[in-house]
Every structure is written in structure tokens, then in C-alpha cells.
Subunit: 358 residues, 4 copies
């Protein structure tokens, strides 16, 4: 029941949305890694809100402050601790949810689990704000992976009824992923961006929110890492990915499209190319038998609509045990997808770094 | 990189498809649990092949033989070790895959990972045969869960183009799940069975195979178990579920259907019923903030078409490094779904037992 | 290779002796625990240096600053993060050890392990200063344990040639342990304190240091917790205890005195007392078969002489690969025992809390 | 609370003394290791009883039967499962302990912990017989270590009042350890053997038993493995060593002799020898800051007198809750030390293999 993950690279995340600070400890990082802080800040800026109408106007001027594990910008091999002070918090906005749980949020089960002692302001420890330290840690993981020739990148595959062009599963390149990672609104087909923004705006004006799918890929992994039965690449990445609030599904390669497929169509054959064994297709998303197949890892995650909406919703008062109606004021994203892209990349990067570190 | 899972109830699975025996050790079981062996055998029989045309004609007369941890049919609290002898193995059927990896199987990455030392006969340790000890362990987990009022059950939601009626996510009952668990071909709408069998037969005759979706539910869990960030119910169940060969996606509640949904439609509100807090809908599949919400857990997994088909496929000869064509002889399931139902139930039961044991 | 410990209560410790801050994250604490901060500060003060001539004159005005997991002095159930700023650091004192490893310290193996990237100032992450967050976490663990009727306490059993009266292994009481915990110089027989102080002073004046033994007890544990084979109470406590710098041995009950003993003398029999099963003696230190026996846990740890002494020692210059002589300037304890008492108590309290939390 | 240990090489031990079989699963072994079974059998024979008057006359013709993970005598990389059938069991001998717990044994805490459901015959899962699979696993670990230039060996340092010559901590060699491992009665000074045998015989004739110390060393480890704070070499080895029944203390280097030592005497300096950094002494037993120092690992463990003796002892009847007297019939070792030597070696070998595998 913990906020700790990883076997070799152990990430411990702490903090509450409206507490004094959030942060993380990363234990097990290799020593001697020169960190590029501008790139770390850039990754965190991609996740930060307030950029445009798709996200909450809450401004987070998040400066990660490193307390240990780094000297002269280089990792020492000791645990790297980082904190981010919470500055722009308006607790008043949330005072009504102490007694009335927000639908589709963690509020009610957390109230039961912690006997009412948990910090409910802004979701407390369950807030999406806790993805900030994940992105910090993921940005470091990405730099270490790149030094080993591994690149991770993601894009918005779908928002509501608007879809981006999916990755060519067997042909996605590091260059393509790097380009995507540089975008604030990460889509493969730039023409799709405005359509997606329009879709989000439609829901925003309706005091509503909308879900979507993020597709993520990793190229450059060695073949045969991961496995066996209970240590599959799929299972290990999923455990971290489901740690991102709003993620409700994870699939690899064709995923749920395998349901209506047949083997002749979708089996991934082999061929010799330039003297090497290559896959002729990559419907399995780069993982076979729980191990990397040599093709790119391609996965996608389902993201539910932000549950916080200003429209009235049915809830209950936990003190009076009466039905009631809740209108969530405050600042919320009508669509979390654009900001979730670097979070998904980070989860995948951390998972892969942990897997290849054994 | 291990075949061990669980934090409190630790399952260690061993064996190869054509080795001497397969089995498992379950560590951490409570003492004093009277086991109903007929029910364990019944669960294992549901998974066993050879029942009809949907599965391989390989007959496995699998008798789980318990070596430790049980006295007079009651758990002692010491590790429970169980073995199943492999009797009906025909290694000759697989001799050609030593050098030619089967498409979409573990063969190639395992060959790289283990430097050619792994047992390749029938997939070795990566064979779906290793789901037999999972079902054994799951059958025990189900009995312990039932003593706590928790019931797990599953059905075939889809095979190719044929769909069963999905669970009423907020209304599925223990009785319904028990009924499903008693069926050899588990579907909610019995009229669907013949259509699904016809669908499978179509692919079988074409020397092909077909995928599908299994939907699984668990009712009776206490509210507020699971979480926090990296110990979500979703993540922990996924890690075990991806340990089932051919599983390529896991989703909770609406899962990927959240992508085109909006919050007004899909948010799960609350109401007071009989003096208790209840959800007005269960689109989140019983999990909020990684914790149980009090509504049934409802998840589904995507299963790819059995990769072993008798039709010719493109592969390579790892010795000569030449392209070649492979026709997989031997006994294979044209559709693994019917037999996979008890395996999915077992994975979910084991995961839930582990989660509620803390 | 981590600074993380615990299965249910996970403690992650971070920081370097001369870095910006040290601290910890405690994950898995129960919610709703009202913390007594004065007692936490008191425990930390017992460990803090500068009290008298037995310890380094380095003044640490250590104020633990809590960042998360506590509201209104009560645990929320979310990870509790705490930092202590390093204020009184004199890096200059240690500049010579960059190239010349201090004998009997972590310097040389850390230099090899981290390729010279580790923070060497004051031992960096390996500094005994990192026991401050351990004591903070232990002070919280002790409060939770006390609410369950479990008391932990320790005393200096030996310094050099001076010995204190050992615990009555089968009769030590909570009251006795509480009294010991209130002492800055924890000995059972107060007449021994001055003798021990004289012993330390003798070595201090000789620019030398001296070792000793700390004995620790815990009363009030339920019978039958701990075990099985690889999860013994002894093994789990030892793993944490060896995390304290300078600890080189751990023994339970008679420990190494069992070597010259025979069963007739030392077997712990049973008798009925007040209708309950009691042990007639407790030579096994409260642990049988790796589980608690119902008698007090009694263990002792060997502490080596502080390796930092001002006398000249043989070492090497890692740059020139020449032999050299090292005189360690700076502030050091001629005997670490008095300050190590609360650290040992903390390690034992954390271990016991983790064990009884399953 | 498990019988599972290890992070990278995961050992799961199962079975009861008088059950059908005991055994283990070793998960995470490298593939392609050619096993020398004669050496495995030889190690197991060293542990087997019935060799002479120092041990129980119970004959165990223990044949380890491998079920998986090995093909043609070579590891496949899949979990290696092994069972040993229990053949020579006389349950009648133990029937009286169902209700009367044996002093200093696991009986009473296990009865409480498992609610009376545990297998009590011969100690059940807590029997020293479970060290047979440990030795099997350790014999494999030793072979893998040797292929990396690492040798582990041990000897009886003390039985009662008779002592062997201790290891030269900084000079012990692989040759010396190999020689010791070939002896059935492992002592450095062969003249000591008869004295120790006489000491044991004295206690045997008195229906008594005697304790002792085993000293173990490992040479050839790389410098700088192990650590950080909670993953010290000392802590990790201790957790496994305390899994050996009767072990009550573990110390490294001088261990408890550090208590009366001073830094000038015992600090381990450095010098350049043949162009390499070497320690001038090894009082720390090869571990500094939790990491290997480059000098041999030298540790010793305290072993208590076998608690099973035929003399009458005070106990209670758990049914009637009356005091009673117990005379333990059956076959027992008057001194476990000779047979425990390969068990200690195995625990150390397994621990080191796990540590260097990260």
C-alpha cells in the first residue's frame, strides 16, 4: 500500500497537493551521471498547468530543489532527494469536499481507508500534482536511457472523437520521439492539434471534461530483457502506469484490437535484415513472452475524463449521511491529456530503466 | 526477472512444458484453512485442454500432488508446495523450433536472453502449461476469499466478431459469478456459446486462430483497500494478469471506452441506500484512486490469437541466419479463451488475496 | 544496494553529512496517530552530539522539518517526509580525505563503488549523521508501539573494560526501559556512568577511541510473530541494526555465550503462571524458531571504536598510489556508545513495527 | 513472514521434517551454468546426519531430485525446482510434543502463530532438516561463485571449551577454504578434532548437548559491492544466517571483541602492494560501510546447544494448562556444529551471489 516503486531504481514519492511540499527520493541511480537540468525543467514545464485553455489556470512555478545525491550536477550514487514547495495553493476552494466526496475521485475510498485522517485538500496525496516528482524522476531516467541509446516518447492518440495518426509500430524512430517530446501539445499530425483543442474547448464551455488515449513508444532497447512469468515488461510498466491518476487501461501493441484479430493477420514473423534478426511486423508492441523482442515497445493508456467538473453531480454528505449535490469550484483541466504525455513518458522511462538495471 | 509474485502471499511457479514436472510454492497462506480438493480439481479441469474442438487435443490428466503445507486437508501455514508430473509430452513435435523461432512466441527473445540454454520444447518455462499451477493457487485463493465473503468470476466477453453480454458493472452478483465459474464454456448469455464455437471452428478449419476478451469481476471486497500511488489495485492485478501468456491489455471499468467519454456521462456519483454510501454507477470498475470503491471490481483483458498455427509463417533459421518458412505441427488451441477464463479468475483471486492480506 | 528498508513500514533515508539536508520518507504509517513532538525532539537530542566530552563538539541544532503526511500533528496515512537542514558544516576539515581514504571507514570501498563520484565530505551518505533521520523515524515507531503496549529501551552494556549490569532477560520491565530512555547516558547501574566516562576520557586524551556493546530490550510483544525461515525476528532486526555505522555484531539472548554452554544449563523451559504459559528463563532473548516466544526480546550489538582519530595512521594516496600517513583533524567522538543508544532503540523499534504490521 | 529470500537470486524453501518431501525453488540463476552434481552431493553429504556419534543416528539418504531449470546438467535460466523425499521418518517418536512444547524449540510460538494447525512432527517446517535444500542451493551458488573467482569456506571455531585456530583474517586463502570444505569435520588444526569429539561425547553421555561457533570466510570478492545503508553485506548475510536453526549471533571481523578494543589497535590501514591498494589488517572482516573492502569476508556465527535432549525438562501441557516434565526421545545431535559447517557456507554463498548479481 505504498508510494514506492522499483526493484533496482527505487522511487519514493511524497507530498500532498496543498501541503508544504511534494517531492521524491530516487535510490539506486548510477553514480557519475551528468544531469542536464535545462532538460529536466523543460520536461516539468510540459506537465505544468496554466499554459492554455486545455488546463487549469493554477500556476505552478515548480522549481525542483535537490537536497542530496548530486554534486556539481553529477549523480553521486547516493539517494537523490528532491522537493518542490507548494506556493500557489487555495485551500478554500476545496473546503466543501471534506464531507462530500467528489464523484470518480479517490475521496470516498481514501476517507474509509484512512478513517478521515487523510489530507483531502485537492485530493491530498492522491492529487495529480504528485505526477510532478514522477516527471522529475522520469526526466533523469530518460537522460540515463539516452546514454544507452534508448529513447522514449509519446503523443496524444485520441481526445474524445478526434484521433492522431498512430505510431508505425515497427518503424517508429528515435528522431520522431525526440520531436514529439519537444512539443507542448504532442501530436504526430500537427493538423490534428487544432481539432483536439476545439474538442476540449467544447467540453470546457459545457462545464464538462473529456478523456482520451496516449500512445508511448521506446526504441533502442536490447532484445531479451524482462520476463519471466511475473516480471514481464508489460506487467512492470503497467504497475507504474496505473500509478498515474486517471489511467484506466494499458495495452501493448494491438492490445484490445487483438480481440477481433486472427493469427494469420497479426502474428509477427521474422526476417534477416542486414545480417540481423528483425520482426516483419510489431503487433505485439515489442514484447514477447514478457521480454523485449527487439522491435520498439509500443503501448497505449486509456485516460478517463477529469472527474472534477463544475456541473452539479450527485454525492452524499458523509456526516449527515444524506444525499446531496456537489458543484466543484476551483481550477480544473477540461482535458488532462496534453499534460499527461510527459507523465506517461516518465513512467515508461522509469520502468525501463529499472528493468534494464538488473 | 522472476516467476515469483506477491508481497504477503508469495507464489513461486516453476517447470517447463515438456520437463519432468511443473508446480508451485505458495508461501504465506493462513493456517487452518480446510481445502475443498474437489473444487480445486474442478477449477483445474476447466483449464485443462482436450475437452472439445476449441482446444488442443493434448490430454493432460493433471493431478496436483501436494508435498507440504497441508495436513488432513488443512493448511498448516507453512509453504504449500505442489507438483504436477508431465506425462503426455511429445517432444518430437517441437524439434524444429530449436533453430527456427515461432512467430509471436517467446522463442526468439528467450533464445537471446538465455543464450540458447533455455528449454525450447513447447515453449519451456514460457508455455501456457505453466498456467496450471496458477489455477491451482487461484483455486485456493478463491476458497479463502469466499470465506471472507469475496467472490471472483469471469466470462468470455468476445471471441473474434462474437460478443457476450457484458457484466452490469454496478449490479453483478456473487450468484452470477458462481454460476459462471461452474460452466466449462463461461458466457453470460448461453445463446452466445454456439456462435462463439462456430467462430472458433471457422478459424480452426482455416489452420488459423482467433483472439478475444475475458471480463472478470469480484464482489464483496471491503472499501478502501489498495493504493497508494504505486500499489494501486489496478497495477497489482495487472502485474499478475500480464503473467498469463497471450494477455496484451488490461482495463478497468470502461477502460479504453473512457477515451471518447465525458465526465457528465461517466462520473460515478454517490447516493445513500439502506443507510450506506453506494455508487450510482461503476464506470471505474470498482477502483478509485487505486483503492476499492465498494462497487464490484470489473476488469477485462485482451487475449491475442494463439500464435501457434499450422499455416506457413515467415521466420528465420538462427543457425544459418537465413529466412525460412515455418509450419507449426503439434497440438494447439485455435482459441485459448474458454480455457483462459479460470486462469484470469485465478490471477485476480491471487492478487486480491495478496492485497487484502496487508 | 539501497537506503530503503521495511516491507510494510518502508523507510527511505537520504542525505549527505555536508550536503544541504538529510532526511527520510516513512511510507505505510497508520493514519490517525497523534504524534508527541516533544518526545521526538527528546529522542533526537539524545543522539545529537556536543553534549559532553564523550562526543564530537560539532553542534547540530537538528530541527526535523515535516513536509508531508502529518496534519495537525496527526498522521494522515500518506508518506511522511522529513528533512533536517545541515547548518554547522565545515567542509574544509575533510578536504584531505578526497585522495587519502580514512582507515576503517567507508571511504575506500565507496570510492571504488561510485567511481569517485560520491560525496566524501564527512563520509557523505555513509556518515553517522544519517542516523538522525533513523532516530526521528524510530521515535515515531516507538510511539506507535507504545499505543500497542510495546516498549523498547537500551543501555550501554560495555565501554572498553567497563561493564554495566545486563538486563534480567526474563524480567526486564517496561518501566525500566522507559527510565533508561530518559537518560542522556543510559546505564542500568548509575555508579557505572563515571567509570565509563573516565574510560572514554582516557582514550580521548590519547587521541584514540574505544568500542563497546549496547544491549536493547523490547517488552510487550505478542507471542508468535515473525518467522518463518528467512523472515526471522533475528534476521530482520539484524538487517536494520547493521545499517548503523560501526555495528559489527548482533546477538540474541546469550548469543556468543551459547558457544560454551550446554542445553541443561540454557534451555528455556515453560511453566504455567497465572493461567498463562511462561518461560522459566529467557536465554534465547525472546525469539524461538525466528518467532517471538512471549518473553522480552533481548539483543546486543557490538560497536567498534570510532575509526576517526587524530593519531597518525597508515593509508595511501589514491591519486599517486603511494603510501602515506593520515592524521584526521576535525571533530570526532572518542566513543560513540552514549549517542548510539537511541539509534539502536530506533532500529529495533522500526523493525518490530514492521514485523507486527503484517 | 516467509521462507523466501533474495532479491536477484530468489530462494524459496518448503517442506516439513516428517512430511512427504522437502525442497526448494531457486529463481534467477544465470543460464548456461554446467553443474557438477558430484560436488553438490558431496556438500549435502557433509550436512547429512548419521556419520558418527556427534550426530543423530537418523539416516537420511537424501537424493536431490531436480524437476525443472536444468537440461543436460546445465541451468536453463528458468526456476530450478528440487525435491528430496522424506523416507526415514518415525513420527511416533514425536507424538508427545503435540501438547507439550519442547523447551528452546519453535514449538510453542509456532503453536500460537498457527493456531495449532502447524505440522509439529520433528519441528515440521522449522526442523533443521530444512537446511538440506539450503545446502543444495548453496552448493550451486558456490559453483557459480567459483567461476567468478570467489571461494567460500568455514570451520568449527569452538565447541564448548575447545577452540580451533581462527582464520588469519587478512591472509586466509582460497586453497585453505577448499581444503576445509573437503573435510567431514572441518577444523583448521587437525589436532583439535579429537578434543572436540571428546567434548561432544562427554555431553552425549550426559544426555546433554553443547554449542559452539562456526567461522566462515569468503575470498575473491570485488571491492565495493554491497551497501548502502540498509543493504549492507553484514545485514544481508545475517538475514540468511539467522534462517539457520540454532544460530543466535552473527559478527564480522572482531565482532564483539571490538567492545574492549581501541582504534589505534584495530583500525585497518592501507598500503600499496604490487601496485594495488591493500589493507594492512582486516579487523572489520572484509566489510567497511556495508561494502566489501577488498580483504576477505570473515564472519562467525554463534550456535546454541541442540535443544533436544533426553534429560527431563520443565514444560507445560497446552491442553490441560498444567506444568509437566518432558523427556525427548528420538534421535538428536549432541552437537550440531560439524553438520552446520556446510549450512553456514551455503547461507554465505547464497547471500554473496545475490549481492554480486546486482
Amino acid at each position: 500500500m505504498s508510494s514506492v516503486t522499483g526493484k533496482n531504481i527505487i522511487l519514493s514519492v511524497f507530498g500532498e497537493s496543498h501541503g508544504e511540499a511534494i517531492g521524491c527520493v530516487i535510490d539506486g541511480l548510477p553514480s557519475g551521471v551528468k544531469l542536464d537540468f535545462n532538460r529536466i525543467y523543460a520536461e516539468m514545464a510540459r506537465r505544468a498547468p496554466g499554459k492554455d485553455k486545455t488546463s487549469t489556470p493554477r500556476l505552478e512555478n515548480d522549481v525542483p530543489h535537490i537536497l542530496s545525491g548530486v554534486i556539481d550536477g553529477t549523480t553521486t550514487g547516493a539517494p537523490l532527494a528532491m522537493i518542490i514547495k507548494n506556493t500557489n495553493t487555495k485551500s478554500g476552494d476545496y473546503s466543501n469536499i471534506m464531507t462530500v466526496p467528489r464523484p470518480s475521485h479517490s475521496d470516498y475510498p481514501a476517507w474509509v481507508k484512512f478513517g478521515g485522517h487523510n489530507d483531502v485538500r485537492g485530493g491530498g496525496h492522491f492529487s495529480a500534482r504528485l505526477t510532478a516528482p514522477m516527471v522529475f524522476a522520469g526526466a533523469i531516467a530518460k537522460q540515463i536511457l539516452e546514454s544507452k541509446g534508448i529513447t522514449v516518447g509519446a503523443h496524444i492518440l485520441q481526445i474524445g472523437s478526434v484521433c492522431d495518426v498512430p505510431f508505425d509500430k515497427n518503424g517508429v524512430t528515435a528522431e520522431q520521439l525526440v520531436t514529439l517530446s519537444s512539443k507542448q501539445f504532442a501530436v504526430t499530425d500537427d493538423a490534428v492539434e487544432q481539432k483536439m483543442r476545439d474538442e476540449v474547448e467544447k467540453y470546457r464551455l459545457d462545464l464538462n471534461s473529456v478523456g482520451g488515449i496516449i500512445e508511448c513508444a521506446a526504441v533502442g532497447l536490447p532484445t531479451g530483457v524482462g520476463g519471466n512469468i511475473f516480471d514481464t515488461v508489460e506487467g512492470r510498466l503497467s504497475q507504474i502506469l496505473f500509478g498515474i491518476p486517471a489511467v484506466k487501461g494499458v495495452q501493448f501493441g494491438l492490445g484490445f484490437d487483438f480481440a477481433s484479430a486472427n493469427a494469420k493477420q497479426v502474428n509477427d514473423g521474422y526476417e534477416i535484415k542486414d545480417g540481423k534478426v528483425c520482426l516483419t511486423s510489431n503487433n505485439n508492441g515489442g514484447v514477447l513472452g514478457g521480454m523485449t523482442s527487439g522491435a520498439p515497445i509500443v503501448l497505449s493508456v486509456a485516460i478517463k475524463p477529469t472527474p472534477s467538473i463544475a456541473s452539479p453531480q450527485n454525492s452524499v454528505n458523509l456526516n449527515t449521511m444524506q444525499n446531496t449535490t456537489l458543484e466543484i469550484k476551483g481550477r480544473h483541466d477540461p482535458c488532462i491529456l496534453p499534460r499527461a504525455v510527459p507523465v506517461v513518458e516518465s513512467a515508461v522511462a522509469l520502468g525501463i530503466l529499472d528493468i534494464i538495471s538488473e
